[in-house]
């Protein structure tokens, strides 16, 4: 019995470390694809790792008016995001840790991280921190209802809100591509773009004061704190990508009972799909420009509408309407 527990623990530890290690790579792929599409050489794939290493070595400058919250927030944010990422089934579903929380708890963990980041942004008492925090919270109020509708659709389809359960359901019948699931896929993509501050919502590469949202909050961070914040945002990106993969393209993922061999296949499939979706994200970011802040309600509104439509169609198809 203990041997089995040991294996489970090992698998869970492996999953968490894989997620952590691959995150910067995914971001590297996105930047590389964007650069090549713009016919630029682009930074090397491992550039994100080098940045993190550089930041770790640099000394951290903290503003006088900053409080203990400012210095402790990065560690908490990184931990919350890392645990959330661990919850999402990557190469195998049904790992030891995933019964601890379901999708609602996952969204809430990310909400906690976001709130702490917003508070840290306002701690130093500069106007840019305020801009970042207020816009971040506004975007959150737009994204959360859509996320809730997506969760509702999954619950209606799979009958459970535990990610492992949903993944098993989709593994069992991978090609049940119903219209409602397609719609909620689009909704989840839009929500992911909003949450990760990607192009149409916010430009990750910019430092133009009036447009940035995520960058404004972390403006005052430097050194090891900035490294942690960067790592957390990379982890969050990988989390959403693996969430998309797990829910909507689960082929190759090892079921809970598969042995070592199953996991290996699952791992390979997962890494391939992850880097593929990162590339797709790069293509998407090149093909669209950043929107003005107050056009975001309409953009994220699309996600809400699709989410609601998904549920109505789910009712229809499941004949619940009787």
């Amino acid at each position: 019995m203990t041997r089995d527990l040991l294996v489970q623990l090992l698998a869970q530890g492996a999953q968490m470390s894989f997620v952590l290690l691959i995150a910067p790579l995914a971001v590297g792929v996105v930047r590389r694809v964007k650069a090549r599409l713009m016919r630029r050489q682009g930074p090397p794939l491992l550039q994100a790792y080098l940045d993190l290493a550089k930041l770790l070595r640099k000394e951290s400058v903290v503003a006088e008016s900053a409080s203990w919250l400012f210095r402790s927030a990065p560690y908490l944010i990184f931990a919350l995001t890392w645990v959330a990422a661990a919850l999402v089934p990557s190469f195998a579903s049904g790992l030891m840790f995933n019964w601890a929380a379901d999708v609602v708890a996952l969204v809430a963990l990310l909400g906690a991280a976001r709130a702490l980041l917003a508070l840290a942004g306002m701690d130093v008492g500069t106007s840019f921190g305020g801009i970042g925090s207020s816009r971040e919270m506004m975007i959150a109020t737009l994204a959360e209802p859509a996320m809730m509708l997506i969760v509702l659709t999954l619950a209606i389809a799979a009958g459970t809100t535990r990610l492992a359960g949903v993944a098993d359901f989709f593994i069992a019948e991978p090609f049940a591509v119903r219209v409602s699931l397609a719609l909620s896929l689009i909704a989840l993509i839009i929500v992911a773009l909003a949450e990760n501050a990607r192009i149409p919502v916010d430009n990750p590469a910019t430092h133009l004061e009036l447009t940035m949202v995520h960058e404004a909050m972390v403006l005052e961070y430097s050194g090891r704190h900035l490294a942690l914040i960067e790592a957390a945002s990379h982890l969050k990106l990988v989390l959403y990508l693996s969430l998309l993969i797990c829910l909507f393209a689960p082929f190759g993922m090892a079921p809970a009972t598969a042995g070592l061999y199953g996991w290996a296949i699952g791992l390979v499939a997962w890494i391939a799909k992850l880097l593929g979706s990162a590339a797709l994200l790069g293509v998407w970011e090149v093909s669209i420009a950043k929107m003005r802040v107050f056009r975001l309600p309409d953009f994220v509104g699309i996600a809400f509408v699709f989410g609601f439509l998904a549920i109505l169609l789910a009712f229809l198809t499941r004949g619940v309407l009787a």
Binding site: L56, E59, S60, V61, V62, A63, E64, S65, A66, S67, L69, R71, Y75, F78, A79, V83, F97, A100, A101, D102, V104, A105, A108, L109, A112, R114, A115, A118, L119, M122, D123, V124, G125, T126, S127, F128, G130, S133, S134, R135, M137, M138, A140, A143, E144, M147, M148, L149, L152, I156, G159, R162, H207, E220, S222, G223, R224, L228, P297, F315
Partner: protein, 663 residues
């Protein structure tokens, strides 16, 4: 019977504390002691499930005054006495000479006693007697700062709304008791009213308890009255009195009205969801710290009414386990809200005590000057925003599980409502997070925006103790959510006949299970443990790998740091995006920027117009109508004697012609 005796002791202690003069300082220790005694009695009844009943010969002739402490009352008793204990401990922090006045101190125990009495009342007369006494005592407390016309107007609106609520409850109990006047709850349970009357009773109860709790559109008095009272009293009013209102609705809808009909669920759900969203939109746009907290109370009451509505829907469709989840969500939210709202109001009181200012735009940087209050306020803020490891998330999670299970309900109206309700609740959760990030950010973080904020000092130890205790409860409540849910089993069984799956069914002892483990589990301790381990390991690893030196320097601020604190984001600027997105819809919020002509050195003017339609439609309009009508009627006071004789003659002739025609 010991329970009742203890109860009587506590009430006597309360009343004994009504003395004047130097004994004023005695009020808070006595109230704390009484609260502990009553809390213990409630706990014993809740755990053992043995009801304690008594019948006093006073009250209505022939019926007497019935008192009963069953598990529902015991649960709400614990909520009340927890709040009273916290407020009393906070009260002990007031220094004897300056801050004790005969206008506040003697009324505090009376208010607490009235609330306890409401919960143990077992007949209509005792219920309304103590309900109205509670309103009266809190009115007197709200009008304690009587020199300020604002608090006088708030007190007036408050007691008039309370009277309207009591009138509605009078109708509800009138319908329940029937013409024969069977006011005791046992006789009411013996023969529930017919459907038509039951519907009227439910609507009346919703108006009566909704107005006291703050449901839209009967909410407008709450954000005026609660902040006007002294802080520890507004903590009691917001954290605890609104829960007594919810107790009233639960007692009538679930206990006295007999088996529910499915459409009974619609009004609470719709009103609750609207209250949740609108309450927070008010909160996000308001600039007064205590008023923001009052608006957020309205939001939480809305969320609780949605949960109660869902419980009604599930039990009407014969699904006790769904009803149990929804009711558990409601009751846990009652408990959690009473903890973190009291904590936040006590925190606001501490800020008011330290800086003398309540407007958010005048505070800032308090985390450096009031570190412990800031820490406790942070715990309260994160808890009320329903963020994971803390207790707010436990009830929110249960509620979402109930909403997610709602599509399984047969009636079309309910099961189309569930996605809309889910979306509105999620919106409310996000708005709550935004609102409290704004409050905490502007009040505690950043740099002080006024001299008072700069000169703030930490509050006395007793007040820190009160806040600390509540913060601890919020953390424990978050981790031990499943233990609390199981403790609720007798209450759930009494109300909806079902119960949550036991703790043994979940993977670990502390995992909270909604329907069954395969469907959804939330294991707070494990998550908290993993977050702690993760952050510690990163701390150790990062410190070993990286430079440990940290240098303090001026804020970067994109290269041109500005020393004046005015450049910081204030409460209204933080709310500007939300006002643009949501305000235009709910309050026709319009921002006008008046730029001077080119070459003109006049500064540009920025003005925001926020129109509160609910206030205009439900309060301003009726008020004007009553005054207008009374003006027109006033003519009748100044007629000549002959015209009065004409009135008398007309009355005589009308009656005579009626008599002539009738028989």
């Amino acid at each position: 019977m010991s329970g009742v005796a203890l109860g009587a002791l506590a009430v006597a202690a309360f009343l004994a504390a009504l003395t004047r003069g130097p004994a004023l300082a005695l009020v808070y220790p006595v109230s704390a002691l009484a609260a502990i005694t009553l809390g213990v009695v409630d706990l014993r009844v809740l755990l053992t499930g043995a009801d304690v009943a008594a019948r006093l010969p006073i009250g209505l002739p022939g019926i007497g005054l019935h008192l009963r402490l069953d598990s529902l009352s015991a649960f709400f008793g614990i909520v009340i006495n927890g709040g009273v204990l916290a407020a009393s401990v906070y009260g002990m922090g007031f220094d004897r000479a300056k801050e004790l006045t005969p206008r506040v101190e003697p009324l505090f125990p009376l208010f607490a006693a009235a609330m306890n009495l409401v919960v143990i009342a077992d007949d209509a007369y005792a219920f309304l007697f103590s309900w109205e006494l509670m309103s009266l005592a809190s009115w007197a407390l709200v009008v304690a700062r009587h020199t300020d016309p604002e608090s006088r107007r708030a007190a007036h609106l408050y007691l008039v709304m309370a009277a309207i609520g009591t009138a509605a409850l009078l109708f509800a109990f009138g319908g329940l008791a029937g013409p024969a006047g069977g006011y005791a709850f046992d006789t009411v349970r013996a023969h529930p009213p017919q459907p038509m009357v039951a519907a009227l009773v439910l609507v009346a109860a919703l108006i009566g308890c909704g107005s006291k709790g703050g449901l839209i559109p009967l909410h407008a008095w709450l954000p005026l009255a609660h902040p006007a009272a002294p802080s520890h009293v507004s903590a009691l009013m917001s954290g605890v009195m609104t829960k007594v209102a919810i107790y009233g609705f639960v007692r009538i809808a679930f206990d006295l009205l007999g088996p529910p009909v499915w459409w009974w669920a619609l009004p609470p759900i719709i009103l609750g969801a609207m209250t949740a969203v609108l309450g927070l939109l008010y909160a996000v746009l308001d600039r007064d710290l205590k008023r923001v907290l009052a608006y957020s109370t309205i939001e939480n009451v809305g969320v609780i009414f949605v949960a109660l509505g869902l419980a009604l829907a599930f039990s009407a469709n014969g699904q006790p386990e769904g009803a149990a989840v929804a009711m558990a969500a409601a009751l846990l939210h009652v408990l959690n809200h009473s903890w973190f709202k009291s904590l936040l109001f006590l925190g606001a009181g501490a800020v008011l005590h330290a800086t003398g200012r309540r407007d958010l735009d005048g505070l800032g940087g308090l985390i450096h000057r009031m570190p412990r209050t800031a820490a406790f306020f942070l715990v309260g803020a994160l808890a009320i925003s329903a963020l994971p490891p803390l207790n707010g998330f436990v009830s929110e999670w249960l509620l979402f599980q109930a909403v997610i299970a709602a599509p399984a309900l047969p009636q079309a109206a309910l099961h189309f409502a569930s996605p809309a309700i889910g979306a509105m609740l999620a919106l409310a959760a996000a708005l709550a997070a935004a609102c409290f990030v704004r409050v905490y950010g502007t009040a505690f973080l950043g740099r002080p925006r006024s001299a008072e904020a700069a000169g703030a000092h930490e509050v006395p130890l007793a007040q820190q103790l009160a806040m600390g205790g509540l913060a601890l409860l919020c953390i424990l409540g978050g981790l031990m959510g499943s233990v609390l849910a199981v403790a609720l089993a007798p209450v759930l069984d009494q109300l909806v006949g079902g119960g949550l799956p036991g703790t043994d069914s979940g993977p670990t002892l502390f995992s909270l299970v909604a329907f069954d483990p395969a469907r959804s589990v939330y294991d707070a301790p494990i998550i908290a443990l993993f977050v702690a381990i993760a952050s510690l390991t990163t701390l150790v690893v990062v410190h070993r790998l990286s430079e440990r030196r940290t240098r303090r320097g001026p804020a970067w601020d994109c290269g041109f740091p500005d020393p004046s604190p005015a450049t910081q984001y204030t409460a209204s600027s933080f709310a500007q995006p939300l006002r643009r997105v949501y305000g235009a819809v709910a309050f026709t919020a319009r921002e006008t920027v008046e730029m001077p002509a080119p070459g003109d050195t006049r500064p540009a003017r920025f003005s925001v117009v926020v129109v509160d339609h609910l206030w205009r439609a439900f309060y301003a309009a009726p008020g004007r109508a009553v005054l207008g009508l009374s003006e027109r009627l006033n003519v009748l006071q100044f007629l000549t004697i002959r015209r009065y004789l004409v009135l008398m003659f007309a009355a005589l002739i009308i009656l005579l012609s009626i008599a002539a025609v009738m028989t």
